[in-house]
Amino acid sequence: MRHYENLVIVKPTFTAEEIQASIKAVEEVITSNGGEIAATNAMGMRKLAYPIDKNERGYYYVIYYSVAPAAIAEIERRFRINEDLLRFVTIKYDSNREIKAWNGLVEKANKASEAPKAEEAPKAEEVSATETPKEEEAPATEAAAE
């Protein structure tokens, strides 16, 4: 068993339920290949640094898990087939120092997911509230740059 981290970017055109469903499918791929998910971290809808397939934004989701190294090829193959994903990044945590960092990241992610669980309902409102001014901001900065 080796420690890994996978970042997936889900298409932004989906509704919240569809995003959750496709994330569940991603986790299913990992667990069905013998992986043990240690922690997950939803980074939420973000603006992409550059457009991917003409999408300007994407839903970021990070999964920390440990799995036998041989299974990674199959997991990546399944991700490549999956059309819900704009991009995935797999990172291996191999050396002692990296494993230490992985443990730290897992702890941090678990803490973060435990704490705001009670606030999840208002959070959704906040996201929609904060997103609207963002879109107004973006064209403003572009205009300033020109």
Partner: protein, 87 residues
């Protein structure tokens, strides 16, 4: 030594902070080693030591693949306060 030194005496900021591991998801911390066009700054300008420069190059390239940091910025897109539009 007749040539004037353009930059201050350099030291590795990461060594000073005793950084052992960098996370590619923390975009703000990568900013130091990126130029305003999002090129990786050379070691001779930032003063990073070899070990940390090797770490940061790997981390920046990961962040680029994950669309957290752009590969290039065209002249139109260069913003005076970068990363604020990414947040």
């Amino acid at each position: 030594m007749s040539e004037k030194r353009k930059y201050k005496k350099r030291y590795c900021k990461y060594c000073e902070a005793k950084v052992d591991f960098m996370d590619y998801k923390e975009v703000a911390s990568l900013r130091f080693s990126l130029s305003e066009r999002y090129k990786i700054m050379p070691r001779r300008l930032t003063g990073n030591c070899k070990r940390h420069q090797d770490m940061i190059t790997v981390v920046i390239k990961r962040a680029r693949a994950a669309a957290l940091v752009p590969y290039t910025v065209s002249r139109k897109q260069v913003v005076t306060a970068p990363f604020e539009n990414l947040r």
